[in-house]
Symmetry: D2
Subunit: 240 residues, 4 copies
């Protein structure tokens, strides 16, 4: 399995709080713990040519992990189109935290993906609401994060195919914080936590969920549909 | 539309806190506000013959509302079987609060319907997660109840067909508190609030949701499937 | 309820087979039978200024019905954006037949919406797979159309929220031919039949389904979510 | 992974057509091809003590495969209860063909699980409608079976969590022939083909689907929910 962790990598360059927490960048931190499971991982960032997502890279990627926040608009439409096409062809996609507002996630969802938010060092509890789902393997009934940014409903997404986590926040909000979607041959997993000013991606349970998510969205050899004009009726035995 | 509000009606007989809040019983309170919408409503209770759910009553009922708590085990299997059959035939069912543990709800769900609970006068906020659903007509982004019993995940139900409300509780839990299910020709709506020691069923927004739910589960003249041995292949034109 | 039936209206201008079947256009035929139910209906077509979908028209429309086929590319992006916004705000959308490839449907779905097709005068049977759904009111177990264009799986759509009809075709294919989706406050119903060279929209059961669909997608006064920065934590009582 | 293939094993004893096709019983044929993937497989049948499903066997079983047809009523309630409990605890369940009418499947579904059927040597095509699902790995766009029993809609099941296959039959019917359900910690996969008088379980693509299904329902170490009275509010830091 070839995984690419994509990160906007801008907060890390301008905000010392973020670069202190993530000296190798958010992408570096995520790549590090994925590699613990012997997954082959590369990284790509916004400021690389073609955002690091060349045709070659995309064609060889099984799973793409996406973190973006303040520079969604700088992601080129043509790269978004290519990533979209690859997801429909079967490339898995894991979208993290503020990636909810990325062009690729909005394009796959068909909605605004808007939500409520507040930065107030609130406690978050991510409750498992589907304890049969492999994405929850190895964690407990809930994950507790002492401080996180709040994301609150309504989250303007289509009804998820599978809802796995629902978050509770100290200030009175809830959020559908782990959800999956099928798009073409591709599988998509959205996972909420990971504001850049908190060390969330060092949390072992968060890491477990992301590892599980990467494995879950990986698609091995499912059928490739054929579209378009079907064979003439004269060649269909049933019609004779 | 003929609605029957069924209530166990036991707390009302033994606990003055409950009978003070609901002098006409929980069923009486619910029937009262449903009648405001010119819905024809009757009530039925556990201690009536056949629990008030005779063949005649059931055959004429379009929507059944169910509240039960401490006497689920006293509901006769044969009545449960009849209600189950009527739901599959198209009778709507609205299950309230502790009705999650009723025989009829468990039979329709196929799971234990178990959950966490705590009686501690906690604030509850029911957030709307599907603002397109007619059950949310006329309410705001969330319903706030100053004091309620807590119900927490995991709620052992099948994945709902539609998830409409998610509750936040002061003590740190969340709950899928409004959900729908299709069973045969019947529609089922589960709605969480309504512990017997709180005046929840006088809350106008709670009333609006229950009114909406009753209308939503009401089934008018959808097709009746035919089951069993299909007509012989010789009579199928396509096969000739 | 204000309904607008939108039609590309091109086949009608160039193909006498089509204009003979639909002398008032496909939009005219659909508008006619919707009016039988005392629904207020107007029509709009591609060649009108702004495709007949001005800001004023859209703002006053509760439900939009969409038929397009060979000129999807001529629909202006800015009109698509406006329709998309209105759906998320709560305008219902009924997409018919070859409208599966319209810009608005693809944008709402996030997928290619591709499929197999064949024009061979095949028999179609649309089987009801959800006999609890109000869209099936008044019809039988299946709708049979003597001759229709074939649409076959795989249909590249997201998993529908509700799957109502599955079509059988003489030549060996099946198709998810009636499906619903929630997007923001809006409800979407896709219904397969209606190739321009067949008199499908005169079929009484097809008309019943479209009437039911128009009523089902109509949204009355559900909550309007608030997005963005939530109130400061200092003003949240729970946090104090 | 420990798999038990359960079979009623009655047709094999009385009908030479069946015993000629399946000399080792349907269970034997299924066990044989599962073992090709180095899965540890045992079998159990109706006429063994406790139907071969003792407490010890059930407690050690990760995935149970179920085939039954004419003797569903002979399966003891207490065994059904134990299997049900194990599914909710996380044991995977694959239900095949006429197992749709088994006590365990009906109990898990909450519906009659009724359907249409016809024995007329009809061609069946199982079309993949979710090409992202791991259960479809290694097969083509559809599986074609030259002769099978027909099962037709309406199939009285709850809306599946995931719909993977839809069957086309020569005589004019369709059927949701591959579907999944979450129940507690358990995953359930229903797969239609396999009438006892056809050599369906020797079909390589059918075998691939069943192998995939067995792997897909196997649950490894997802969280075990805690139910009941939650800790007192005084011990909840948020409430102080």
């Amino acid at each position: 399995m070839n995984v690419v962790v994509w990160n906007e990598n801008r907060h890390e360059k301008t905000n010392p709080v973020v670069s202190d927490i993530y000296p190798k960048g958010i992408h570096g931190a995520i790549a590090d713990f994925l590699r613990e499971d012997n997954i082959f991982v590369e990284t790509a960032t916004l400021d690389e040519p073609e955002h690091g997502l060349t045709d070659k890279v995309l064609s060889e990627t099984d799973v793409l992990v996406w973190w973006g926040h303040k520079a969604h608009e700088e992601v080129k439409e043509e790269v978004v189109e290519k990533v979209h096409k690859r997801v429909l062809e079967g490339m898995g996609l894991v979208v993290l935290h503020s990636g909810h507002f990325s062009k690729i996630f909005k394009k796959l969802m068909g909605t605004t993906c808007d939500l409520k938010w507040r930065e107030a060092d609130e406690k978050e509890r991510l409750w498992v609401v589907d304890p049969s789902h492999p994405i929850t393997e190895g964690i407990g009934e809930y994950i507790e994060l002492e401080k996180e940014e709040m994301y609150g409903e309504h989250f303007d997404i289509p009804t998820p195919d599978q809802l796995i986590f629902v978050s509770w926040f100290e200030g009175g909000e809830v959020f559908r914080s782990g959800s999956t979607y099928q798009r073409g041959k591709g599988k998509v997993f959205y996972f909420r936590p990971g504001h850049e000013t908190y060390p969330t991606y060092y949390n072992k349970e968060v890491q477990t969920v992301i590892k599980n998510g990467v494995k879950w969205v990986n698609n091995n050899n499912t059928p490739t549909p054929v579209y378009g004009n079907a064979k003439p009726i004269e060649e269909i035995p049933e019609k004779k």
